[in-house]
Subunit: 362 residues, 2 copies
């Protein structure tokens, strides 16, 4: 099975994304090859789900001459808290990380976001690398968005801090439960909708189940999806323009996650519902037929529930959407599609959004 | 009395520093003139010392059509805590600041550092301006270093986030207690030592007391001292090189502050002691005579205590210095002078530092 590599250009530096089965076991070799300034020591931050599975593989890739510390946080969205952030900084200080030390985020999006924000802010910023172990993290590990949650909103505190290297080992995904696949696959579908109709068609043909994967198909899917993300973030690192397109499906998605209580519904499950909502708004707004039925059928066949959960209220969701980071001057900014692959950002009034929500929930 | 202006170039943008008596009362006019993208709303963050003195002046500068919120934190170093950071973010969310809102830091270094770090991380970064009200803040308000403290070290968490404007009103300094003048003046002296011998001479002649100030002398001192700082930070925004020179006197200074307990001794009082220590190390290390006696005499005549407080221990101070942000690979990096205006960064062994400390404390 092959190895593929993508390079992402950022204002801070250019960094490689390696997609290669088994690469977690050669972590040190990749660091040695790609990171120019040799780190003084390493802190691997991971969670208690991932630690028993892959932590040893990563640690054992280092020669005994290197100082490698580890810090394990509880798995789950609740670790993206101010409290866990402070505790992780405390660990970094106790291990005496200095400005030339390297943080290694080994895990899914939560670990990457938390460890990345610690790296972004520790001594005003030290380097870090990402070793994603979920499908969802193929998205979050690229582009440098890091941060933590606040009870009033997801990712409300954070930074743009680019990793120095992303090591993606598709083998690590094989241990994922089905729900985690669904959480990540929504972002793959999203990348298709906003930038690559061929990817959508390819997914319909090649992805038939989350239970069995051909390693080449999986690697190709990761490569194609990451390529969409990488192209966008390197064009617009700090979300002044096109990067906002990545928010397709996320304005309502984030609101659903927050309103249901973080963790009750996965990010991707919420985003899938948000995508359907955004598609419907797009068709209404631009009077087009996006012919998205085959893609939505694929989502359903993969076990997605595409309706807004009945226990949520339309007013509550609208309120959540109005504190979205992309909102300003009280106008909610929605990513809509004029066609598949042709996204636009559209200011939407609360009334229109509410009407559309009320077709589904009270 | 005149107005002077300096422009600082950063990778993010160029920002003006206005030094003008009374300018706090024209805050909105300056924002309107210098900030290109009109903010959606304003959050003034200040402390309970400054609020009764100047908050109204700033608020009243805004027309009633603008939304101006205020948030007052307790004065003192203890507000640079994780807890106060989280509470300030909560306030920003409750006031519904969006990515185009402007944070105004009205106060000394604590307010600037805290408010600046909130601005740096809120929704991954929103603009902020500084309105310094202390002499010490003439230093901290320029250059974009923002952050909070950890019990294991000062400013251990933070960011480089450049202000969009610095409004310096020398009138606001006239209410400062003598101890605050001493805290800030140490940075002025430091700027002379590392970059501008003429400034040192000028200070010896023109600054005779902290109790009475000629507004022109005060404005000129601010201008000259800020100019040194601005030149350095625009050459090296992220402390990869020459910016480290600004740390002259600070390695021991920070250690003294932390070891004595934050707030027990002011930043500048500690830095003054650190400067004397660094001068002595410099003379020893480079076998030079820096002829700094007249400047140290000036410091003494202005009420500085230049010995290391007897209750502190040499080992404790050394331990603190070894977690300094500029340390790496266990080597403590000290800024020394080969001559006045000729700083260098020198790796120092613990033994040499300890010997020198033990001339003063156990």
């Amino acid at each position: 099975m092959g190895s593929s590599i993508l390079h992402v250009h950022s204002s801070q530096h250019t960094y490689p994304i390696i997609i290669e089965p088994g690469c977690r076991k050669r972590t040190f070799a990749f660091i040695d090859q790609y990171i120019t300034r040799k780190p003084t020591k390493y802190l691997i931050i991971t969670d208690d789900n991932v630690a028993p599975l892959y932590l040893e593989d990563v640690v054992h890739s280092f020669p005994s001459s290197e100082t490698v510390e580890t810090y394990v946080v509880p798995s789950g969205e609740q670790s993206k808290s101010f409290k866990q952030y402070e505790e992780t900084v405390t660990a970094a200080l106790k291990y005496r990380l200095d400005r030339r030390s390297l943080i290694i985020a080994l895990g899914g999006g939560v670990v990457g976001d938390l460890a990345g924000f610690v790296a972004a802010s520790y001594m005003r910023g030290i380097p870090f690398i990402q070793i994603p172990t979920t499908l969802l993290a193929h998205d979050s590990s690229v582009g440098g968005k890091v941060g933590i949650n606040h009870s009033l909103g997801k990712n409300m505190v954070g930074a743009f801090h680019q990793p120095s290297l992303v090591l993606y080992d598709p083998e690590a995904l094989l241990s994922l439960p089905e729900r985690e696949w669904r959480s990540g696959f929504a972002e793959v579908i999203k990348h298709g909708f906003i930038a690559d109709k061929d990817l959508l068609e390819w997914l319909v043909t090649h992805v038939t189940s989350f239970q069995e994967w051909d390693m080449d198909i999986l690697s190709e899917m990761l490569y194609r999806s990451i390529q969409v993300k990488a192209n966008i973030v390197q064009e617009d690192e700090k979300e002044q323009g096109v990067r906002a397109f990545l928010n397709f499906g996320h304005t309502l998605g984030h609101a659903i996650e927050a309103e249901a209580g973080y963790g009750a519904i996965t990010h991707g499950e919420a985003v899938a519902i948000g995508i359907v909502y955004a598609l419907r708004l797009s068709e209404k707004c631009f009077e087009v037929n996006l012919q998205s039925a085959p893609y939505l059928e694929k989502l359903k066949s993969l076990g997605y529930q595409l309706d807004i959960p009945k226990q949520l209220s339309a007013d509550g969701l609208l309120e959540r959407m109005s504190v979205d980071k992309k909102a300003y001057n009280q106008v909610i900014r929605f990513v809509l599609l004029k066609a598949i692959g042709k996204p636009v950002v559209q200011g939407m009034s609360g009334t229109v959004l509410l009407d559309e929500l009320k077709r589904e929930v009270k």
